[in-house]
């Protein structure tokens, strides 16, 4: 390769670098807790120069927020993708949640960073956590259209459902049971659907197999 020429587009490299730094932050956070992680740790783990870190992020906090944003976007993408492959709204919840739990199970470090630390790392992280919850709220709000008294349901119902699912995941991660997380699918589907379609219909959907999440 002649010197001075880049085999890859600039944008690709930047993307790749950011992903690598985010992954490094997540791994370090799992190891020692967010508070104790330093930029030096992240740089070492990612195998990049300190300058490179600061070209991408202004601080550790900035990097944490980016990690959280990345994870939420990716999770949302997978959920919507899975949900769009089935027709009825309850089936979409089933498949979407399956995709979500699968993502958590395959990315435990990132999940821990975004969910556990957000509930433990003080005010700055909390705002981000709330935004993560809000990102999923519209998907559940659609359920009001199929619910007999949809518009009368409590205004914060969707926050309750998403927050509840996040909390359960948080607890399982803290207890080191992340590999069992996908087994919770039927219970969480029932929890999420009951307010909209009633307990019986929710149980029926929860008993159905969701479509297989895309990514392996």
């Amino acid at each position: 390769m002649p010197p001075g020429r880049h085999p890859l587009p600039r944008e690709f490299i930047t993307q790749h670098q950011r992903a690598r730094i985010i992954a490094a932050l997540a791994e370090e956070t799992v190891e020692k807790g967010y508070r104790a992680v330093t930029v030096a740790d992240i740089v070492r783990r990612a195998g990049i120069a300190r300058n490179t870190f600061y070209e991408n992020f202004s601080s550790k906090e900035d990097c944490f927020l980016a990690a959280s944003e990345f994870a939420v976007k990716e999770a949302l993408r997978r959920v919507v993708d899975a949900a769009s492959r089935v027709d009825s709204w309850p089936a979409r919840v089933n498949s979407g949640l399956a995709a979500f739990l699968h993502y958590v199970a395959t990315e435990p470090a990132l999940a821990r960073t975004c969910i556990v630390e957000a509930l433990s790392a003080g005010p700055a992280a909390v705002e981000r956590y709330e935004r993560s919850i809000q990102a999923f709220v519209p998907l559940f709000r659609m359920g009001r259209k199929v619910a007999p008294k949809g518009e009368d349901l409590p205004g914060t119902l969707e926050e309750t459902i998403v927050g509840g699912v996040f909390w359960i995941i948080y607890q399982r991660i803290v207890m080191g049971q992340v590999e069992e997380i996908e087994q919770l699918l039927p219970e969480l589907v029932e929890f999420s659907l009951t307010p909209y379609v009633g307990a019986e219909a929710a149980k029926r959907t929860a008993a159905e197999a969701p479509i297989k999440p895309n990514g392996k």
Binding site: G122, P154, I168, E187, L188, F191, P195
Partner: protein
């Protein structure tokens, strides 16, 4: 020279002043910016006074947090007991918690700040959350088919309620909390009582009852027509602390699994030697595994301890679930859960503090001084201990754990 009683009173009020000052300073400045100097300046006390009660800033934080959690649990249980019907009970709990937060926004923000301090603080919070979940889960007793609601439902409801309250506290919007209650209540009763009951909750007016605490007290006093729940003696009114020396980990934990054996091992070793006296060798001997095996699972004593803590939480949940499945009455089930938790907390406060201070200030010499609480066997705690389930029989043979009181009684 002060007699013992006077000295104890002075000590407890000194401690209370320091804790109050800590909460104020921390809620204003955040966890990281709070220093012992600032705390003492606010409390109007000197450094020796601080050292009499706490090993350092982290110890102080954790003690204050422990106090708050216990107080919050006490408020919740009393609120719950003040009513007869499950939805009324739950509503009383919700307003009780919220009244506490609104009355004292400083404490509310302290509850946010303290979580930035690490796993020990988080683990305590999660213990409290377990109790809240079991109060919600009592709703299944109202159903024709109590098994029809998944066990994660109550946990999810408790967690999301916490999240919604927490985020409003962070935003400084404590005044929004009362109007949140009907929403939370509606979501909480829906899985158990159905949609009609949920709608009825929404149409209730939200209000933090005036003079909440007094109202509860009066209610209790006037409730003599109701025979005391047989477990009333098991609910020490102030959720009294139990004597030390019991780890709360049932023998069943000693399984074939190495990791679990180590967890049971650390609990046993701590009960035997106290946290500071416990060495890796004690743990591995109790667990009957090699030192190398220990390090395959944990990097340190502290890490092993936090794992033990998490295990107890899990056990607590399962125990409460199991109690429900066996068709036991709620009071017995929840009593068992709370007692198990108190047992563990009573044995542990300084353990978690040590895990914490080591992590935060590596290399600091360990002081064996404990938090200056009297853990003598009071009548209430003895009663609670007697009623405690699945208690290790070895506990009674074991002499009370030695606790150095030198640091605070000198």
């Amino acid at each position: 020279m002060l007699d013992t009683e006077t000295r104890e009173q002075t000590g407890s009020s000194e401690r209370a002043r320091i804790v109050a000052a800590l909460i104020e300073v921390a809620s204003e400045r955040g966890y990281g910016e709070t220093t012992i100097e600032l705390i003492l300046e606010r409390a109007g006390l000197d450094r020796p006074a601080f050292d009499r009660h706490f090993r350092g800033k982290y110890d102080c934080f954790l003690s204050a947090w422990q106090d708050q959690n216990e107080e919050c649990l006490g408020t919740m249980i009393r609120a719950y007991e003040s009513r007869e019907e499950w939805p009324d009970r739950l509503r009383a709990v919700a307003y009780g918690v919220i009244a506490g937060l609104s009355d004292d926004p400083g404490r509310a923000s302290f509850g946010v700040e303290v979580l930035a301090a690490g796993d020990a603080a988080r683990a305590r919070r999660d213990m409290t959350m377990r109790v809240i979940a079991s109060l919600i889960d009592a709703g299944r007793q109202e159903m024709d088919d109590p098994d029809s609601v998944p066990h994660t439902t109550a946990e999810a409801l408790a967690g999301s309620a916490y999240g919604q309250i927490y985020s409003r506290v962070v935003r400084g919007a404590v005044e929004e909390l009362p109007e949140l209650v009907p929403q939370l209540m509606s979501a909480a009763v829906m899985p158990y009582l159905g949609i009609e009951a949920a709608m009825a909750e929404l149409s209730r007016e939200s209000a933090v009852p005036e003079g909440y605490a007094r109202g509860v007290a009066k209610k209790r006093a006037g409730k003599s027509e109701k025979p005391p729940v047989d477990g009333a003696e098991g609910y020490p009114p102030e959720l009294a602390r139990l004597p030390p020396g019991r780890h709360g980990l049932p023998r069943e934990f000693v399984t074939h699994n190495q990791r679990e054996r180590l967890i049971a091992g650390i609990a046993e070793a701590i009960a035997e030697y106290g946290y500071s006296g416990t060495t890796i060798a004690h743990i591995t001997r109790a667990a009957a595994v090699s030192r190398r095996t220990f390090y395959e699972h944990f990097s340190s004593k502290d890490e092993c301890f936090v794992a033990a803590y998490d295990t107890v939480m899990k056990e607590l949940r399962e125990r409460v679930s199991a109690a429900f499945e066996e068709g036991e009455e709620w009071p017995q089930a929840i009593k068992a859960g709370i007692e198990a938790m108190l047992q563990f907390l009573a044995a542990e406060p300084n353990l978690a503090a040590s895990a914490w201070s080591r992590r935060s200030s590596p290399g600091r010499p360990w002081s064996s001084a404990t938090t200056p609480r009297s853990r003598a066997s009071s009548p209430t705690s003895r009663r609670a201990a007697r009623a405690a389930p699945r208690r290790s029989s070895r506990a009674s043979r074991r002499p009370p754990r030695k606790r150095s009181s030198a640091a605070w009684s000198r």
